[in-house]
Amino acid sequence: MNKENRKVAVFACSGIGKPLGSVAREIGYELTERVRPDTTVLTCLALLVINDPDARKLIAENPVIAIDGCVLDCAKKSLEANGAKSVRAYQSIDFFKKHSHLKPEGIAELNEAGKKLAALAADELAGVVDELLEEEVKNV
């Protein structure tokens, strides 16, 4: 893949113990399916645990967005520990602070407020995707 065709790799923590983990996962889907489908790729965070060569190559060669649920920053930590080239990290809880009327509930199935929150977060991250790719083009 040459630099002009680079994509931003998106990873979500998908924490299973809190709705914030589900919000992080949903933000990943919104960003890669709706907001920037042509310039992002969502990859399983768990692949890093097994040292999957494709996943490691992806994060070594492409800019990365990590979406964590909370301040524990599990996705960010995993990515950095596995050699991610550059990680822009975000937390669902920070998006909640900006839109606190949207209280996310549910883990297996996120409620409508949680889905709306994720959609707003993904809209905000669109600019980050564009910025990261512009930097990549400049560095060619």
Partner: protein, 147 residues
């Protein structure tokens, strides 16, 4: 000396700091030189989720035990903070404005909420629980939640 007592429930570890005093409704108090530093326990923060906002009352406010000390908003709920002691609020933890998560990550340290100059320091201590007594109450709550 052990710094924390702890109990485990499922995968969760609940801690209680030795040397602090406690209330049955899950507040801790550390009294030094007639000033009480106040916060919420590990049990309370774990039960209510990630803290997003903290709004304590302003310094200078007189409070009685049981009166409102402010609000915490978490992902799950908005909690009214209830003062465990009587006195005058002398200081609030400004760090919580930008780092409300301190209440989750370090409830007995960086997550302190406010300081209160006590009206009656010795009388205040009599109404509060030692760590060993509080942890028994906490365990009872956990067992009750398990059903």
């Amino acid at each position: 000396m052990t710094e924390f007592l702890q109990t485990t429930f499922d995968k969760f570890i609940f801690t209680v700091k030795v040397g602090y005093l406690y209330t049955e409704d899950d507040y801790w108090v550390d009294i030094r030189d007639a000033v009480a530093t106040v916060g919420v326990t590990d049990y309370l923060q774990k039960s209510n989720g990630d803290v997003a906002f903290v709004e304590p009352v302003k310094p200078g406010k007189e409070v009685k035990r049981g009166e409102e000390l402010g609000e915490i908003e978490t992902i799950k709920v908005t909690l009214n903070l209830i003062s465990p002691v009587a006195g005058k609020v002398s200081e609030v933890n400004q760090e919580l404005e930008t780092h409300p998560e301190f209440i989750n990550s370090d409830p007995y340290g960086a997550g302190w909420i406010c300081r209160i100059k006590l009206a009656d320091p010795e009388g205040t201590k009599e109404g509060l629980l030692q760590a060993e007594a509080y942890i028994k109450i906490m365990k009872g709550k956990l067992e009750g939640e398990a059903g």
